[in-house]
């Protein structure tokens, strides 16, 4: 901010500011003399009143001096300018960043934030003269400048503002500012960036603009009042790739971005079928609504969850593509004496019909494509545990049958690198019982045993085992027993936490165990494989989810040639594609604009489907506070007119006139204060005793 005086020639008038002081001193110089009977009581009164009188005198003097100063400044005709202060004759370079992100679609009343922002941007540009240069950046996920370099065609920019459309993208403020700085680099004159945005807290909080010192930043906020909103933030399928005939769970996270509880109906649309559930959302809270969907065939299909319309409809619908698998791919790794167990597992998988065992080596564990949907480890001694942890972290369940003589500590370190407490030299010990150990179900309510609840499939714990690892629950990672031996030794141990690990302590070696010979073994193995992929806290694999403004990529496979691939948008129109030079014919789309399901097509055949969903970060419409906006290091303006005025210079004389009047009023008020003070002791009449 800078001030220029148009009548600077009148600066000598400033000497008049001492006038009140001179008058003050002069007025006190020669008071008239009045004879009085005794000044003793006046002196007593003075001692009391001078304590009050002196500050009042000073206040009066200050008020009078300030009033005179305001009047003098008024005649000097000061003009206030924003950043740079180059004054009236300097060329200005203004880059207007217009927030076109999804949150700007909120309607504060009669018009959306974006419409307000466009009007403010137009107002700012209207304040520029013919010698000034400007550019407009439409900011979303990727900033788009109207001119590649600063230009003087303000009319065209205003036309672009009229043609500008709101996007469904999330705002990237840093990218927009970097582009603006690049545009202003090398320009002569005053440089300004003006951001017109709702300053949505979820986007802007914590953001610190890094600008060269010669560039001024002005912020114009368009958010007004409350913005209650409800949104669907997540739609996920559990398991991520269900099998035909399996009942999948579709999870919908619904959020309430308002200070009042809301009752919302969530509608799940699967093809033409619709199901609805009601949810009561606490203030600023979330709820997860689940839908069950039985998978009929190994064909992908789209599901969409939606809310009843609210004032901000963009985030009221969300899509997901369910891609069922025709077979469950089970990776099998065996070593040492674990081969017998692995063979029994493989035999069981083949008996299931819908599971395909693939024998792997530990080296193959780095490639998730080779592992499949579930990994079974038999006799793996826990060495190089980072590979298995990598598998677990990718959300692939692992069933591990540890070998004999393995350090017990590795049971822990497979889940975490932290070394366990206690004796690190202890190893797993084999113990045998000629009569055999009996098994029992420890957690009959677990989904693994749900199929056995009716008794149709027998007792899942049937069979005897003559040998086992002598482990205790203290030696195992935190978890719960699914099946245990009668003495409490864990036989099947489900670890807790985000990593889906199951420990298997039931040998399937012929002669030592009869479990694998039981009719219940195959259903038990099948249910274990299915349940291991489901609903473990935090282990639900998130489907690939794009947001508007991103580019979708098609990697060429054997199914179709790259040149015959096209991308069809939710409205049936094709999205322009271009070939990636570095990826052997892969196709990449232009940034997608519309949320919905996009189909990669070869001719009329759908090759793949991708989902573009509303960016969840745009759903919380609360803006930054004024203090936080000032914290960006910017000058804040309430409207584009203010910015234009600052650029063109604001004449301060009306404000100074008001200031002078107010000061004079205050001076009058202080001077008249004594008149309104409560009267002293009433004058004595005849007092007698």
């Amino acid at each position: 901010m800078s001030v220029i005086f148009l009548n600077a020639i009148l600066w000598p008038l400033a000497l008049l500011v001492v006038l009140p002081l001179v008058m003050h001193l002069f007025a006190r110089a020669r008071p008239p003399i009045v004879d009085f009977s005794s000044v003793e009581f006046i002196q007593r009164a003075l001692r009391f009143t001078q304590r009050v009188r002196k500050p009042k005198d000073w206040l009066l003097l200050i008020l009078r001096t300030a009033a005179v100063a305001a009047v003098i400044l008024l005649f000097l005709r000061p003009m206030l300018f924003s950043h740079g202060g180059g004054g009236l004759f300097e060329r200005r370079n203004v880059v207007v960043i217009l927030d076109a992100s999804a949150s700007m679609g909120w309607s504060d009343g009669s018009q959306t934030r974006f419409a307000v922002a466009c009007a403010e941007a137009s107002e700012i540009l209207a304040g520029l003269s013919s010698r000034d240069a400007a550019d407009l950046i439409l900011a979303g996920a990727g900033p788009r400048a109207v001119f590649p370099a600063m230009g003087g065609n303000i009319g065209y920019l205003q036309g672009e503002i009229r043609r500008a459309r709101l996007t469904s993208e999330a705002l990237d403020p840093d990218a927009a500012l970097r582009l603006a700085v690049r545009l202003l680099a090398g320009q002569e004159g005053r440089k300004e960036i003006c951001i017109i945005s709702d300053f949505q807290a979820s986007n802007w909080r914590g953001f610190k603009p890094r600008l060269p010192p010669d560039i001024g930043l002005t912020c114009v906020g368009t958010a007004r009042g409350e913005s209650p909103n409800a949104a669907i933030l997540r739609v996920e399928v559990d398991p991520a790739r269900p099998l035909p005939g399996e009942e999948a769970t579709i999870l919908c996270d619904v959020a309430n971005f308002s200070g009042a509880p809301q009752r919302k109906t969530i509608i799940l649309a699967v093809e033409s079928a619709r199901t609805s559930h009601e949810a009561v959302l606490p203030p600023w809270g979330r709820a997860t609504v689940t839908f069950k969907q039985r998978i009929a065939a190994p064909l992908s299909f789209a599901v969409s969850a939606s809310l009843a319309e609210d004032p901000f409809p963009g985030d009221d619908r969300r899509w997901a593509v369910v891609e069922p698998a025709d077979l469950l791919r089970v990776g099998l790794v065996s070593s040492g004496k674990g081969e017998a167990t692995a063979a029994a597992w493989a035999k069981g998988c083949r008996a299931l019909g819908w599971a395909r065992p693939d024998l792997l080596t530990t080296e193959a564990l780095v490639n998730p494509e080779m592992i499949g949907d579930v990994l079974l480890l038999s006799g793996w001694p826990g060495t190089d545990s980072s590979r298995v942890r990598g598998v677990l972290e990718r959300g692939i369940p692992v069933v591990w049958a540890p070998p004999v003589g393995m350090p017990v500590s590795r049971l822990m370190t497979v889940l975490t690198n932290a070394a366990p407490l206690g004796d690190s030299r202890a190893v797993t010990v084999w113990e045998e019982n000629p009569e055999g150990f009996r098994l029992k179900v420890a957690a009959p309510d677990h989904p693994v045993f749900r199929a056995f609840a009716a008794g149709e499939y027998g007792d899942p714990a049937r069979g005897r085992v003559r040998g086992r690892l002598a482990v205790t629950t203290a030696q195992l990672p935190a978890g719960d027993p699914l099946i245990s031996y009668e003495d409490g030794t864990p036989a099947l141990w489900m670890c807790r936490g985000p990593l889906p690990l199951i420990l298997w302590n039931i040998t399937l070696e012929k002669g030592l165990s009869s479990v694998q010979n039981q009719a219940e073994f195959v259903p038990l193995l099948g249910e274990l494989l299915l349940a291991s992929r489901r609903g473990l806290p935090g282990s639900v694999r998130v489907l690939k989810d794009s947001v508007p403004g991103q580019r979708l990529t098609w990697r060429t496979g054997v199914e179709a040639r790259a040149d015959e691939i096209r991308l069809q948008g939710p409205d049936g129109s094709d999205v322009p594609l271009r070939a990636l030079e570095t990826a052997g014919g892969a196709r990449v789309s232009e940034p997608v604009e519309q949320p919905g399901v996009y189909d990669w097509m070869a001719g009329e055949r759908v090759m793949s489907r991708e989902v573009v969903n509303f960016p969840a970060v745009e759903s919380d419409l609360r803006p930054l506070s004024d203090t936080e906006i000032k914290g960006l290091g910017a000058l804040t303006a309430s409207s584009g007119r203010d910015v234009r005025d600052w650029q063109a210079g604001i004449p301060l004389w009306p404000r100074l006139l008001w200031l002078a009047l107010i000061l004079l009023l205050c001076e009058g008020g202080v001077a008249a204060y004594d008149s309104f003070r409560k009267p002293g002791r009433p004058p004595a009449k005849e007092v007698s005793t």
Binding site: R28, I33, F36, S37, S38, V39, A45, T49, A684, V687
Partner: protein, 291 residues
Amino acid sequence: MTHRRFQYLRPEDIRQLAGFEFSPKAVVEGYFAGRHVSRARGSSVEFRDYRQYVPGDDLALVDWRVFGRTDRFYLRTYDHETSMDCHLFLDSSASMGFGSNPSKLEYASFFTACLAYLVIRGGDRVSLQLFDKTIRTFIPPGSTNLHLNGLLNLLERNQPGERTSLAESLRHSFPLLKRRGILVVVSDFFDDPAAIFSALGPYLHRGFKIFLFHVLTPAELELDDKGLVSFRDLETGQRVTAHTDDVREGYLQAMGRHIDALRDLAVRRNVDYTVARTDTHFYRLFERLTQ
């Protein structure tokens, strides 16, 4: 009565005073028989008490009826009615010259002259003492018209003098008063209240009935709005510059405290105290004296 026209005792005043009688209920001591009750036993019609006869007593005072009943000699005693001495103390310090139409001194002189007239008309004796920081003039008690003329002449010649020292003057004048009676002090009391009542102590102890008339002008009681002025003390010449609006509240509080202190001490010492505003007629002060 005199035929000369005096400034402070005008014919219209004399006509107005015809309805007044100065007869305060005070026990006095005097030489002449009069209307006032004396502590001395004497001859009058007011019976007081019996006392036993002692040799030397006048046998005419023996109550023979009592002797007939008791066979003992008892004398009847009567209250001695005597004339009253009224001592007028008039403050003539410089501060009494404050005010106009009338000044405090003029107002006090009117009151003093009329009071002296009333006393002499009642057959009692009146004395006058003019003082400032000390006794300027003292006229001993007298009850004749000639004496009254002298008092009035003195009042007319009187001018405001120097600083007030009421307590000092009271101390000096005590030996001058031979008999107890009525003491009337007319002053603006610009002195320490405790010192004033300390000086009045001997008078009270001797049995004087004391009346204090505190003469003040409205300007002193209300402090007129004069704006920023330099106040000059009439007694000391000291100057104090102040704005009347600023100091009025404090001044009135200080003046109020001074009056309250005088009144409280007066109540405690059984002294009659009256504030006399110069904008009220001095006749009203006689009502205080005759209550």
